[in-house]
């Protein structure tokens, strides 16, 4: 699509009718058609055409045409990915469960670094970010813009908030994934270092969402030293309730949703990296995504064309000759 930066200039277009009325070269009152070579007969209409084209190109140039930017659809390899990030304050501790000192890396910082690497390796993903603490938050709607994604991930560096309400966070993330695309694959990656009891009404909402459309769910559980694992089955006789073992019961709940689901337990930055690589391998499917196309200016081409036309017209004037260098001799000489 072509647009004009200053369309009022186009009102000057009738000016290009002038060359139809005014000749570019001089007219002669003594036409001598037989003095003009046959192959030169195209010169007249050509000059008119050039004299019309030159102002037309200049007027178009003044209107500053451009090819509209925007985005084009193309087929890439990736997925519609919703990152669901735990913003509870425990994420600011290290994997050893202490506050970071010296060269230590907190769980949040490790997750951020590894996710940024991951995103940089996958140019075709459409990514959205949701976060949760006591309440779910929409951080970034689904987007292809890498700068926006980087800015949103960088903002996760701020210290976290209070508690963990993973259920409502999942509802938000699955809703975002549903809206992202009707045909391509969708995935939710939950990054958290803990879980919480999911209220019954939220469980129902999640089951309804799961029944509506398929979403692949990945849970990257950042296990702090000493915390119970999600795969550990308690010894017989030990209590096994969602209140005491929320992580294990979230795992059981997610398994029961009937969706493709993988849980990864990572207790070090290295393990997180392996898990993320594995997720990336599984989430490589054809996806219809969009690539931004910059706006392109076309005025220079108009000006160049006008310049060539003007040069040709100038040449015509320089080469202009009279039809007859001298008055023709009379046909009949009176006696």
């Amino acid at each position: 699509m072509i647009g004009f930066a200053w369309p009022p200039a186009l009102f000057a277009l009738p000016l290009l009718l002038l060359p139809l009325v005014i000749r570019w070269l001089r007219a002669s009152a003594v036409p001598r058609l037989d003095l003009r070579a046959v192959e030169g007969r195209a010169v007249g209409p050509l000059l008119v055409a050039l004299a019309m084209l030159a102002p037309a190109a200049l007027i178009l140039g003044l209107a500053q045409p451009y090819l509209r930017g925007g985005s084009t659809a193309y087929r890439g390899i990736g997925t519609n990915l919703v990152l669901l990030i735990d913003r509870s304050s425990s994420m600011d501790d290290t994997f050893a469960g202490r506050s970071p000192q010296g060269g230590d890396e907190s769980k949040a910082a490790a997750a951020r670094r590894i996710l940024l690497d991951f995103i940089a390796r996958r140019p075709d993903d459409r990514i959205g970010i949701a976060a949760f603490s006591t309440a779910p938050m929409l951080v970034l709607p689904m987007t292809e813009s890498r700068t926006a994604i980087a800015a949103a991930v960088a903002a996760l560096a701020e210290p976290g908030l209070s508690q963990t309400d993973v259920g409502r966070g999942l509802t938000l993330a699955m809703g975002m994934a549903h809206e992202a695309s009707a045909s391509d694959s969708r995935a939710v990656v939950l990054v958290s270092d803990g879980a919480a009891v999911i209220a019954p009404e939220v469980q129902t909402a999640l089951r309804n969402l799961a029944a509506r459309r398929q979403v692949n769910i990945y849970w990257l559980y950042l296990r702090t030293k000493g915390a119970k694992g999600i795969f550990e089955v308690p010894e017989p006789g030990q209590a096994d309730t969602p209140h005491l073992r929320p992580e294990r019961h979230l795992h059981i709940f997610l398994q029961s949703l009937g969706l493709p689901y993988h849980a990864f337990e990572a207790d070090s930055p290295g393990a997180v990296e392996d898990a993320v690589t594995e997720i990336g391998r599984m989430e490589s499917r054809p996806i219809l995504t969009r690539r931004p196309v910059p706006r392109r200016d076309l005025a220079w081409a108009c000006h160049l064309l006008a310049s060539l036309c003007c040069a040709a017209l100038a040449a015509a004037r320089w080469l202009e000759r009279r039809y007859a260098p001298r008055r023709p001799a009379p046909l009949l000489v009176p006696a």
Binding site: L15, I22, R26, L58, R87, A148, A151
Partner: protein
């Protein structure tokens, strides 16, 4: 005449060629990077902005303000509740990521609040620190309703360097009721006088006029009983309070209802600008000149046919 006829088209060709080469002059443009922090506490749900809620009005004005900014300006987004702000997106260039910013702004919702408190002076200080860390000025949208009410010692001060910015006051001047929502987010009415705290918690030094309050007793009731009723369940914009907070922090105060232009004017007065070089194309000027010269060249030919003379 003859010379002009030969020279003018060549001149037009030259001018058009110059226009095609795209000459320009260097200009300077002032850009302001901004972190927008929106108050999403309950009082922002009050519908006293021509029928729209304060939050909706804030979204509308901010989206229009972002759209009016020159390319190259960077805008970040965050929100405020409890006593701190949370940044959602660090400042990004607005022309590349306008859609994202508008989407995130549209997604701002009172339900994101992780707590219901609204300690504005603390939140403002936190947001200012955050903005300074991001090297941006601050636009803080709030209605100025502290909940719970300020302690008797007054609001938190500010003693550090300020990045500047604007406190944007949302809401009308007439107190209006605050909508109340249930657990599932359905509106169930309005806050009543018995739902809210009307005076600061009875912690710390009592107010100086406590002795004059009803029910005062130096040992058993040093705060008096003046905090049992009040109008904290209604909300109006506290323009005076916000102006004072803004003044202490080197920021300006503007009303949300005044629109994006007033916001821009206040921001220009209270936030430092980043100067960038711009390239202003002169192609249209050369193109117009070329057109004029070409028309002159066309008209330089006599309209009447020439008589051939020996």
């Amino acid at each position: 005449m003859t010379a002009a006829r030969a020279i003018l088209p060549a001149l037009a060709a030259g001018l058009a060629l110059v226009a095609a080469a795209g000459p320009g002059i260097e200009g300077r443009r002032e850009l302001r990077d901004v972190l927008i922090v929106v108050d999403i506490t309950r009082s922002m749900n009050v519908r006293d902005m021509d029928g729209a809620s304060r939050l909706d009005a804030a979204r509308d004005v901010l989206t229009r303000w972002i759209a009016s900014q020159p390319c190259g300006a960077r805008v970040g987004l965050g929100f405020f509740t409890e006593r701190r702000s949370l940044t959602l997106i660090e400042p990004v260039e607005i022309c590349t990521d306008y859609a994202t910013l508008a989407g995130t702004l549209a997604g701002l919702d009172w339900r994101m609040a992780w707590e219901g408190d609204s300690m504005i002076s603390k939140g403002l200080n936190h947001a200012l620190n955050r903005a300074r860390g991001l090297d941006a000025a601050l636009i803080f949208v709030t209605d100025g309703q502290e909940a719970p009410p300020l302690p008797y010692s007054g609001p938190d001060g500010w003693r550090e360097d300020s990045p500047g910015g604007v406190v944007l006051g949302a809401g009308g001047d007439q107190p209006a009721p605050i909508p109340k929502f249930d657990d599932l987010g359905r509106e169930t009415g309005f806050y009543g006088p018995t739902d809210v705290q009307h005076a600061p918690a009875r912690i710390g030094a009592p107010p100086t006029d406590a002795a004059d309050r009803p029910g005062f007793h130096p040992r058993n009731n040093p705060y008096g009983e003046a905090d049992l009723e009040g109008s904290e369940h209604l909300s109006a914009m506290r323009a005076e309070y916000l102006t004072r907070l803004a003044g202490e922090r080197g920021m300006g105060f503007a009303r949300l209802s005044a629109g994006p232009a007033a916001l821009q004017a206040t921001l220009a007065a209270h936030a430092p600008a980043r100067r960038v070089a711009t390239h202003r194309s002169l192609s249209p000027v050369f193109g117009a000149l070329a057109l004029a010269v070409l028309l002159a060249a066309l008209l330089a030919t006599p309209l009447h046919a020439r008589k051939e003379t020996p």
